[in-house]
C-alpha cells in the first residue's frame, strides 16, 4: 500500500463567495479504502465531485496515478473538458440516486461505457459486464430494465457500471443514503467485497459501522477542512478532537443491545 493512486493538494472549492472546501490535502493509496465522514454541508460530496471533475476545483492540484490533472497557467489550474473526459474514465463514481440509464437494460447500462467510450468489442464488453454483475451478485437481472429492480439492486448495477470501466479508483457518494433500510445491507456487503478484493475506494458515507469494519482510514471533514483523520478504531472509537466527538455522539445517541448472531449471519451481514 505504498503506491499513490490519488493525491489531492490544497484543494479549494468556492461557489461564488461561499467557500465549501478550504484547502484539502488527501492521498489515497492503491488498494486502500478511505471513508469520508462529516456533517451535511461539511464538503464531503463536493470533495468527491472535484475528484472526477463534476465540479471544477477553484484552487489546488489533483494527481491521478501520479499525473497532475489539468495545466498550470498563472498559478491556477486550467482544465480542458476533453481531457477531463479521459480522466473520468479512470475514476468510477457511484451516486446516491443510482442514476442508472432507464432506457437501457442492466447489461446495456454496464456495457455502454466500455463499448462507446473505450471502443471495446461488444462480445468482450458483455463478458466483462457479466463478470462485474456477478461480483455485485446481480447477474440474474442482466436483461431487466432498471425500473424492474429494487433500489438496492439498482445501486449494485450502478457499482458494476462504474467497475466495468476498470477505474483506478472508485468514488461512492452516499451510495446507501437513498435506500430503504432493509436494502442498505446488500449494497454495503457488495462494497465490502470490493474493498477486500483490493479496489481503491474513496467512500462518502454515514454508515459508521461500514467505515469501522471496512475502511483503512477514516477522514472527518468539518466546515471544508480535514479536521481529524486516522484508522477507524481511533477516529470512530476514541476521537481526540471536540467536533469529531460531537458528531459521533449525535450518531450514537440511541443504541440497541447487540443481537445474538449466529456465526453464519455475522459473516454475511
Amino acid at each position: 500500500m505504498t503506491e499513490e493512486v490519488l493525491r489531492i493538494e490544497g484543494l479549494r472549492k468556492a461557489y461564488g463567495l461561499l467557500e465549501v472546501l478550504k484547502g484539502i490535502d488527501l492521498t489515497v493509496h492503491r488498494g486502500e479504502t478511505v471513508c469520508l465522514i462529516g456533517a451535511s454541508g461539511s464538503g464531503k460530496s463536493t470533495l468527491l465531485r472535484c475528484v472526477n471533475f463534476l465540479g471544477y476545483p477553484t484552487e489546488g492540484r489533483i494527481y491521478l496515478e501520479g499525473r497532475l490533472i489539468g495545466r498550470e497557467s498563472g498559478g491556477k489550474m486550467a482544465y480542458r473538458e476533453s481531457k477531463l473526459c479521459a480522466v473520468r474514465t479512470h475514476v468510477g463514481m457511484v451516486f446516491q440516486q443510482f442514476n442508472l440509464f432507464p432506457h437501457l437494460t442492466v447489461e446495456e447500462n454496464v456495457t455502454i461505457g466500455p463499448i462507446k467510450i473505450r471502443g471495446v468489442p461488444p462480445a468482450v464488453a458483455h463478458e466483462k459486464a457479466a463478470e462485474q454483475l456477478r461480483r455485485v451478485g446481480i447477474l440474474d437481472k442482466a436483461k431487466d430494465y432498471p425500473s424492474q429492480l429494487s433500489g438496492g439492486q439498482q445501486q449494485r448495477v450502478a457499482i458494476a457500471r462504474a467497475l466495468a470501466m476498470e477505474p483506478s479508483i472508485m468514488l461512492f457518494d452516499e451510495a446507501t443514503s437513498a435506500l430503504d433500510p432493509e436494502l442498505v445491507g446488500e449494497v454495503l456487503v457488495a462494497m465490502r467485497k470490493l474493498a477486500e478484493d483490493g479496489t481503491t475506494m474513496l467512500v462518502v458515507t454515514h454508515e459508521l459501522g461500514f467505515a469501522y469494519n471496512v475502511a483503512h482510514r477514516v477522514v472527518f471533514l468539518h466546515e471544508g477542512t480535514i479536521y481529524e483523520e486516522g484508522p477507524p478504531q481511533e477516529i470512530l472509537v476514541r476521537p481526540r478532537r471536540p467536533r469529531t466527538q460531537d458528531f459521533l455522539r449525535g450518531h450514537t445517541a440511541f443504541r440497541m443491545p447487540e443481537p445474538e448472531m449466529t456465526p453464519a449471519a455475522a459473516v454475511d451481514g
Binding site: 463534476l54 476533453s82 473526459c85 463514481m93 442514476n99 440509464f101 432506457h103 462507446k116 450502478a158
Partner: protein, 222 residues
Amino acid sequence: MPYDWNFSIVLQYMPQLLWGGLHTVLLSAACIALAVPIGVVLGVIRHQRVRFLAPIAVVYIDFFRTSVALVLICWCYYALPILLGVNLSTFTAVTIAIGLQASAYLAELVRAGLGSISTGQWEAARALGMPGTMRLRYIILPQAARRMIPVFFLLVVEVVKTTTLAGIVTYPEIVYEAFRVSTEVYRPVETFTIAGLICFAFLFVTGRIAMRLERRYAAVER
C-alpha cells in the same frame, strides 16, 4: 326535404380522391422529414444555450411559429423562386414552407423534452467519461424522444392538416382533388364526406401508432 345521398357517381372518382390522399401523405412525410433534423438541432442548441447560435435559433423559432402557414406556402411558391432564380415544384415549395414551420414547433418540443431529463442522467454519463455529444446521443436524446412521442404525434397531425392548404398553389392533395371532383360531378356533399373519411382514416391510424409506441416505451420508464 331530406337530402338524396348518392355515392355511386362519386365512387367512380375514388381513385382520384385516393390519389389525392396519397399526395397528402407524401407531402406530410416530406415535411416531417425536413422538420425532424432541423428541429432536433435547433432544440439542442436552445437547450444547451450554445453561444452565438442560440439567439439565432430563438429568432428562427419565433419567426416561424408566428407566421401564417398559408402566407408561407404562397411566399415559398411565388416569391422564393424569383429571389433564388430557380424553379420550385409545388411539392418542394410547400415542403419548405410547412417543414420549416414544423421544425420551429419541434425545436421547442425537443428543448422541453431535453429539459425533462434529470441532471442525474447527465452527471452519470459525464462521470462515465462520455463527451458531450455522446451524452446527448446515447443517454439523453433517447430518453427525451420517448417522452416526446405523444406531443410529436400531435405535431404530425397538425402538419397533415396544414398540408391541405397546399391546394392553393395547385398541389394535388386530398382537398384540392375533392374540389376538382365535386365541380365535375356536382356532388359536394358526398365528395367532401369521402375526402373527410380518407383524412380521418389516415389520422386515426397515425394516432393508433402513437398510442402503441407510447405504451411500449412507458413500460420501460420508471
